[in-house]
């Protein structure tokens, strides 16, 4: 069985800084796969490379065995690689419902439609309301996204991504800033996703990670440290040194100012 997503020596260099330095691992179809690592490990950059927001300096990103490295970001989204953003990136002047509709109409093939009003497209509207119900935002559907609280924006971020009908869903610190109740709802939402949706998740809250993930990849200073089951990762001494800072992190800043 081919992996849903496979990274082959993917790298992103910013001048001297190797933010992502030859990372390879694969994500099985239907996996709940978490990427963890201390700050500066390259997690968010890795997501940008997978989603196509940034072009990788080297290496290949494979979706279902096909190289998508040269495919632009918007095409990757229609192929099924959909990301959320660590810092909520929403359409703040639009309503909550419109945020979801923007994603839903694109993936329903309606985004070029110019004459029939959105308000008459019942199927699209019903689908968007269902999705908002699932993330717990439906009673806020008429509010402008800019008027939402931080936690609500995180929920809307997930709803917009789900409206893209993802095959590989990239969640970048989805629970950051969520209340415990919101985090619990979010975890349930991910658990309830259809099995064919592959989830790749960056998260700092290790309770969320070990509660959801069946596989965990650890990054450290842009390098791949370990991929394994949650128990293997928790037992690894390498991971513990990385997190506890036994490794000299000065190599991050070759010419550190004094």
């Amino acid at each position: 069985m081919t992996a849903a997503l496979e990274l082959r020596d993917v790298a992103q260099h910013f001048g001297q800084l190797k933010a992502v330095d030859g990372v390879s691992f694969s994500v099985a179809a239907g996996a709940r796969h978490a990427v963890i690592g201390p700050n500066g490990a390259g997690k968010s950059t890795l997501f940008a490379l997978i989603a196509g927001t940034r072009a990788a300096t080297a290496g290949a990103v494979m979706l279902d065995g096909e190289d998508v490295s040269g495919v632009p970001e918007h095409r990757r989204a229609t192929l099924g690689i959909v990301r959320t953003f660590q810092h909520s990136s929403l359409f703040l002047a639009s309503t909550v419902l419109e945020n979801v509709l923007l994603a839903a109409q694109r993936h329903a093939g309606l985004s070029w439609s110019m004459l029939r009003p959105l308000s008459r497209r019942a199927a699209l509207l019903d689908g968007a309301h269902d999705l908002l119900q699932r993330v717990g935002l439906d009673e806020r559907h008429g509010a402008r996204a800019g008027a939402l609280s931080h936690g609500e924006r995180r929920q809307l971020e997930v709803a917009v991504a789900l409206a893209c009908r993802p095959r590989v869903l990239l969640l970048d610190e989805p629970a950051a800033g969520m209340s415990p109740a919101e985090t619990a709802r979010f975890s349930r939402l991910v658990t309830e996703l259809p099995a064919e949706v592959t989830v790749l998740l960056v998260e700092h809250d290790l309770d969320v990670v070990f509660g959801l993930a069946d596989t965990v990849t650890v990054l450290h200073l842009g390098r791949h440290l370990l991929t394994g089951s949650p128990t293997e990762v928790q037992a690894s001494s390498e991971v513990q040194t990385a997190y506890l800072g036994a490794v000299d992190s000065s190599e991050l800043f070759p010419e550190a100012p004094t």
Binding site: A77, L102, A103, Q105, P117, R140, G142
Partner: protein, 321 residues
């Protein structure tokens, strides 16, 4: 009744009242005034085109005068060589405007924000200079005269009275207004607002955003072209001055006064701009532009979100829908 419903009813009533006044105008005012209202309607159509780009899609433009000019000259050429039927001129002028936008748009699409504004400004200036130089097509700075009176539909007598020309211009304006209103409520319209709001996110959601922006540019070009054809029908004369920098700047000013993104705001803004320049300007002997400057400053200070922003609910009092 709920506040939302009250607002919808009020909007209908105001719309109906405005329509009644517009229809009754030829009986209420003299011929010169009615031709001014015709010019306001043409200018409002141009402002709606600018609003589609600047207010809706978030692309500030000073180049719509170019496509307005393309439409105006196309209308003039069609009327003298092909057909004096208005709708024929209108469709061909809109097509020419869209084509011109499709050719020049990809250059402007490389940039956003102020850089986009500067490229569109250059496009407008090139069109203005070209109109003055291409004597064989435009009759240069002499202007294109000899445009026959417009025939609204085949089989109807040509419209020579200002009041009747006004009705033709009004009908075209209402048609364009309706089409753009429909467009803004469609999925495509929502996508254009998404470009203004957060283009990066829109791309991440799967939109080829530049293609959408270019499509908006071509539609705005078609609209400006149609407005140009209305101009030719109303004035029966086209000169390079009709597509000068001041036309583009005043159209942008009308959109800002009206409030970015609002069609009725752009239309009322266009009326204010034309009336200030042509009527009030007469009272202070040639200082119309100064008055426009004062109007602009007052609006920006007193109504930062323009006329249409005044009645919108404030952010903090946003009700749960």
């Amino acid at each position: 009744m709920s506040p939302v419903l009250v607002r919808a009813v009020v909007r209908r009533l105001v719309g109906a009242a405005v329509l009644v006044v517009l229809l009754a105008l030829p009986w209420l005012v003299n011929a010169y005034a009615i031709s001014t209202v015709s010019r306001i309607l043409v200018f409002a159509a141009l402002a709606i085109s600018v609003n589609l780009l600047t207010g809706v899609t978030g692309l500030p433009t000073l180049g719509q005068s170019a496509y307005f000019g393309v439409g105006a000259y196309t209308g003039a050429i069609v009327s003298t060589t092909l057909s004096d039927v208005g709708p024929v001129q209108l469709v061909l002028a809109a097509g020419a405007g869209a084509l011109a936008a499709a050719v020049t748009g990809p250059v402007a699409m490389r940039a956003r924000g102020v850089a986009f504004l500067m490229i569109t400004l250059a496009i407008g200036e090139i069109a203005y200079v070209a109109a003055g130089r291409l004597d064989a097509v435009t009759y240069g700075t002499d202007g294109y005269s000899g445009v026959p009176a417009v025939v609204p539909l085949p089989g109807i007598a040509p419209l020579v009275i200002d009041g009747l020309v006004y009705y033709y211009v009004l009908a075209v304006f209402l048609l364009l207004y309706g089409l753009v209103a429909l467009l803004l409520r469609s999925p495509f319209g929502l996508a254009l607002r998404g470009i203004r709001d957060n283009e990066d996110r829109l791309r991440a959601v799967g939109y080829p955003t530049t293609a959408f922006a270019l499509a908006a540019y071509c539609i705005a070009g078609a609209l400006a072209g149609a407005a140009g054809s209305m101009w030719t029908s109303a004035q029966r004369f086209v000169a390079p001055g009709d597509l000068g920098f001041d036309v583009a700047a005043l159209a942008l000013l009308a959109v800002i006064i009206g409030g970015l993104g609002s069609m009725w705001g752009a239309s009322v803004g266009a009326a204010l701009v034309v009336l200030t320049r042509d009527y009030l300007g007469g009272y202070v002997a040639g200082h119309g532009l100064l008055l426009l400057g004062v109007l602009f400053v007052v609006v920006v200070y007193a109504m930062p979100r323009g006329l249409s922003g005044v009645r919108r609910p404030r952010r903090t009092s946003e009700v749960r829908a």
